[in-house]
């Protein structure tokens, strides 16, 4: 679901970023107002879970892959505004260091995965959770919320891809950016997400949410939360070690092909906007270390990504933001 650079026109990228600016501003304002300062470091832990979730690629028939995002999970743990900022920072790190998702398309990726996903997922969860009382019912609500959230997010991405050929074409009639219209992009994105990837998001959300509720309920209900619980540390470590499982999925996710791959997908040409577009040289492209076995590079990338996310948010908690303990909610 990470839209690479040059799949969307720069104009669309600018519009999506402009849309996200007020969302980020409101989210930061809400976090300062509602989230206790002591809980700010947990944003980093949430972002780390999202980052790790996105590294577990799952294959589906047809040679394409996808992954869970964990946006609904963070919104359940910390609220949708915190989830928006957590996932945005995770996406920024992925784009800058690992080349996953474009720099120009950052606003669009944030709109899909850091705005639509957590807010829709959280709204659905709240709607169901208010009507059930048992903890199992809340888990079901979390599962349904995450499923609807990731599908809403995938639909938004599919629409962004699909409107490109209708809006941007060269004199020969060839698409300048993403060459597939809505008739292809929507089914291509939604079939995977309505089935396997949606299920992966449900499993990831429910499993981690149930685990956290059991071993660290303080994270869900209490206002203290600056220390990462040992069980959570263990879970993060286990996920890092298991990330090479994501390499078992061969193939590229739909809409994430490189310029050399796109012509072979059936359109027969490489769109001009992609061929001559912006290119960013990431430090660890595709979560790999040049010359090292893929699995080791993947684990190192996961460890660096998780560590940086937690460090960034913990340091931010020292700078300020978040309300002081004891202030009225």
């Amino acid at each position: 679901m990470h839209i690479p650079d040059n799949y969307l026109s720069p104009a669309i990228c600018a519009v999506m970023t402009a849309v996200m600016v007020p969302v980020w501003a409101v989210s930061i304002h809400k976090i300062r107002q509602e989230l206790p300062k002591e809980k700010l470091p947990m944003l980093g832990v949430g972002a780390a879970f999202s980052f790790l979730g996105m590294m577990f690629n799952i294959p589906i028939p047809g040679g394409t892959t996808g992954h869970a995002v964990g946006g609904t999970l963070i919104s359940l743990l910390l609220g949708p505004y915190a989830a928006c900022i957590s996932v945005s920072v995770a996406l920024l790190l992925q784009a800058l260091i690992f080349g996953d998702g474009g720099i120009l398309a950052f606003g669009a990726n944030c709109f899909n995965m850091a705005f639509v996903l957590p807010f829709v997922g959280y709204a659905v969860y709240q709607f169901i959770a208010k009507r059930v009382k048992s903890s199992r019912g809340k888990l079901v609500a979390a599962g349904i919320g995450s499923y609807v959230g990731i599908n809403a997010s995938a639909l938004a991405a599919a629409i962004e891809f699909g409107i490109q050929p209708a809006l941007f074409r060269d004199s020969a009639g060839n698409a300048l950016y993403c060459p597939y219209g809505l008739n292809v992009s929507i089914p291509a994105m939604m079939i995977g997400h309505l089935t396997v990837f949606g299920l992966a998001e449900v499993v990831y959300t429910v499993a981690v949410y149930a685990f956290v509720s059991r071993v660290s309920p303080v994270m869900l209900h209490d206002r203290e939360g600056s220390r990462t619980a040992p069980a959570l540390k263990g879970l993060i470590a286990a996920l890092i070690v298991l990330t090479p499982l994501g390499l078992l999925a061969e193939g590229t996710a739909w809409g994430e092909w490189g310029t050399e791959e796109i012509a072979a997908t059936g359109i027969g040409y490489t769109p001009a906007g992609m061929q001559n577009g912006f290119s960013w040289g990431a430090l660890l492209p595709d979560y790999s270390v040049s010359g090292m076995p893929e699995a080791i590079g993947y684990v190192i990338s996961a460890a660096i990504g998780v560590a940086l996310l937690i460090i960034i948010f913990k340091l931010l908690s020292l700078l300020g933001g978040g309300k002081a303990e004891g202030e009225a909610a």
């Binding site: 470091p41 010359g291 090292m292 190192i300 998780v306 940086l308 340091l315």
Partner: protein
Amino acid sequence: MRMNLSVMRLIGRVIDSDTQFHRGYQTPRPAPILRLAVAFVCILLCALSRNAWFTLAVLSVELLRTAMKPPRVMAHILRPVAVAVIFAAAFTAPAIFLGSPGSFGTITMKVCESVLVLSLMNEEVSWKETTGALSSLRLPGIVIFTLDTTVRFLVILGRFSNEMVEAVSLRGVGKRSWRTAGTGGILGTTFLKSQQMATATSEAMVCRGFNGSYAPGRRRLRANSRRQHLIDGLYALLIPLLIAGFIYTQRLMTAG
């Protein structure tokens, strides 16, 4: 002089925090000597490695360890790392324009890794434990004694000089440069004070039965020493693991 004072104050803060942070560690931890050895092996192997892989792998683990610390401790650890990385990047930046961007990245990363390892060790092992560990290495007592007293006196004299500068500033009228604040007098007084302190320390040591030989305190094993041995043994395994990782990455480079 201001700069010297800043250095002294910095050391003072390190020692102060040393005592503050270590009050919290009650659970059994690996022996300081092992921590020193692992940190030394880490830094040595990173310096010896001819590619970025080994350094990157160690760096990722150290960053994860840092990420698990409380925010204030983390900031304390990362401050010297940030300064070292900025300096290293500034010094090696010309390599980018001279056609060797890889050297820029590798050297900066090695500096980051080395300072991070030291900074983490400084956070987790107190100065007292460090000198105790050095004595286990059969380092002459007089060397450890000199190290111990030097650091302590740096802190004490740093505070003393700082108080004098503050007193002179408060008594002065208007904005005065440090050059006119009686630098020579302050330094001279600090020197005389150090002489007095050295004499007082020596007399106090004689009073407490000092016979000329210095035996720094070694760490006593706790009651549950079996658990301590297990922790030490597991931690000691890191050394062969690090060496194996180093050899593996060097072979990988040769094969590539």
